[in-house]
Every structure is written in C-alpha cells, then in structure tokens.
Amino acid sequence: MTMPNGFRTAHGYATVSSSTGGNDYRDVARQMTEAGHQMNHATARNVLLGAMEKFAAAILTHYGENVSTDVVKRIAREPSFQDGLGELIQDEFLGKKSKKD
C-alpha cells in the first residue's frame, strides 16, 4: 500500500506528537538559524537523530543489550522511542514531573 496522492502535502512533514507540544523540523531549523546555527530541516533531523543515537546507545549498554550501529540507528529513528525519551528529557530540563505523570 502506498500513500495516496497529496497525502504528504496535506499532512505536512514529520510533525511531532501534539502531547509534547514541540516543533517540526522546519521550525527547528528556522529557529536554530535565527539563533546563529545555520541549518535546514534535514540537518535539524540529523542533529536530533545523532543525539537520539547517543541516548539509545547508552540505554542499550545499560541494559546489557546489543549495541551494534544498526540497532542503535533503528531505535533512534523509532517515533515511540523519541516520544518517550522526549517526555523524560522534558522532566529533566524542567526539573519536575510532567503533567502526564
């Protein structure tokens, strides 16, 4: 099954789940560029995935799992992993439990 014609246009590019209230990659890139870090949406995604890979590798190592590059990359790309990690990071940054917990 493939995406119907126009589906991607209508639904935008890689939005985040609304529960985290974050920005999509284009917004991230725009704000980073404004702050002096020139980048486009693809670079923003690559930077985020690089960070996610660091988390994934650390978590896998902690639990004694296989930390091959392929596994780390696959987990880092997983939206549910990013969502879950996003909430935990949010807690850490804000120094308090999120509303959901």
Binding site: T15, G22, M32, D91
Partner: protein
C-alpha cells in the same frame, strides 16, 4: 527444535532417490527428507506468527504435516516435493490454530482490516516519523473512524478474553484522536502496573538520561529543546538559546553601532 539452517537444499534428483529408498523401507531417507525441508516449515510458521500462537508450537505442528507429506508424496508425478509439502504443512498449522487459537472467532474482514491498519501505520511512521491519528488511519485504509477504533481495541487485547477481576489499568495506544489525546483501547491486568522494581528501573533510567544530557553538544541540546517544545527560562542565560560568548559578541556589535549616538541625540535635544 532448531531451525536447521545448515541443512542443504535437495535437488529434484536427490529427492527422487530418497523417495525410491523410502519406498524400499529405508527410514533414514524419510529423516533426510524431513530435515532438508525443515526450513520450509519455519518459513511458513513465521508467516502465521500473528495469530496468537507461539511460532515454535506452529513449527512443531508443521513438522508433523511435513512427515505426513513424505508418506503421501508420489514422486512419479513430476512435481517438486516442497510444493506438495507446503499444503500439508499449512493444513497442519491451520488445524492447530483452529483448535488452540483465540477463543473468539474474528471475522475475515476484520482480520483483513487489521492487517491493512498495521501496514498503513508502519508506512505512516516511516513517512512522517510519528504515529497516525485515527482519522488519518481511517482515510488511509478507507474505513470509518469508529470501525478503525473498534479494530484497534480488539487488537490491543490480542483477541484474548480477560478474567472479570483482573482489570485495573487503562491500556493507552500511541495513536491520537483529533484532539491530540492518546486513545484508550482497553484494560490491563493489575500485575503489570508500577512495581517497586519498575520505580527503581525508572530512577536508574532518569539518572542515565541526565548523564547523556551532560555529554550533548550545545547544538544538539538546543535542537532537542526545540523539537520537544521544552521552554527556555528567560532569567537563566545558561538556558538561553544563545551562549554567553554570542551574547557578548552581540553586545559588542550593538555598542559599536551606537557608539557616540547618545551624545548626538543629547546635542540635537539641546538644539531643539
């Protein structure tokens, strides 16, 4: 039972030779035929793995079907043994699933829709990097939202009935409804909710995350903040989207630009 991945695939001639030997009463020929085709059994078993039955049990039943096929196969007809054996293996697995599968019969169209939803969800995640909403899934699979929701509910419980006294916690899917809330799709037994060990594991995980956060580059940290919508504290320059150095540089440029201007303004005021 092992997958038997190291077994060689038999050629048509070798298979015929083994059946001739089997016809002469050589039991080892049957063993050789079974062990050489065991990978076929596992391949078929994996394709049935989403039916709520353990793959190893299915492979066990499939092996029985394979043995039945060795007894019934007529090599003189000129067909490949694997073609014939496939049907016996599938028949054995199908019967096992019927006898030991889910207690509630699922209509074929619901199973079909469930598979379409699963495929569409995977594709959506690959395309957009997030879970689809119910309305989007409904649009993709061409079904009503209520229909999609009910299929997801039944899938969440794996089509297995729960004891009346077990449910205490909600099972919440990753899928969102149009108002952005996670969809509640069932209940989970009390035993799976927050044990002390879970809480300890949670604390360990948070500690680990804190460590990794301290190792991130400035750029990565900012991207994460923006991506996950983590607000900045305006009173804390350490959290501000520009670094101290950049702030000093900005201040220096402002000072250069307006160098002497306040005096000129004062002079103009004096003239006025």
């Amino acid at each position: 039972m092992s997958v038997g991945a190291s077994r060689n695939i038999l050629s048509y001639e070798e298979t015929c030779d083994l059946f001739i030997k089997l016809g002469q009463g050589d039991i080892t020929a049957r063993d050789k035929l079974v062990s050489s085709n065991i990978r076929l059994v596992w391949k078929i078993a994996r394709s049935y793995s989403n039916r709520g039955i353990d793959v190893e049990d299915l492979a066990q039943e499939g092996s029985m079907g394979l043995m039945k096929a060795t007894e019934k196969f007529d090599y003189k007809r000129g067909f490949k043994f694997s073609t014939y054996a496939t049907w016996w293996i599938k028949q054995a697995m199908g019967r096992y699933i019927t006898n030991n599968g889910p207690a509630i019969r699922i209509p074929a169209h619901v199973v079909g829709l469930s598979m379409r939803i699963r495929r569409a969800t995977e594709e959506f995640k690959q395309e957009f990097g997030s879970e689809p909403m119910i309305s989007e899934l409904a649009e993709l699979v061409g079904a009503s939202e209520d229909h999609v929701k009910s299929v997801l509910e039944s899938r969440a419980t794996e089509y297995k009935p729960q004891a009346l006294d077990t449910g205490t916690g909600d099972v919440v899917s990753n899928l969102k409804n149009d108002s952005g809330e996670n969809v509640r799709i069932g209940q989970t037994p009390a035993s799976t909710i927050g044990t002390p060990f879970d809480m300890f594991a949670d604390a360990e995980l948070r500690k680990l995350i804190r460590q990794v956060l301290s190792q991130l580059t400035d750029r990565e940290e900012r991207v994460i903040r923006l991506r996950f919508g983590i607000s900045e504290d305006p009173g804390n320059h350490g959290d501000f989207p520009i670094t101290e150095d950049e702030l000093k540089e900005l201040q220096r440029r402002i000072d250069n630009k307006f160098d002497g201007t306040p005096n000129k303004v004062e002079e103009s005021h004096d003239h006025a």
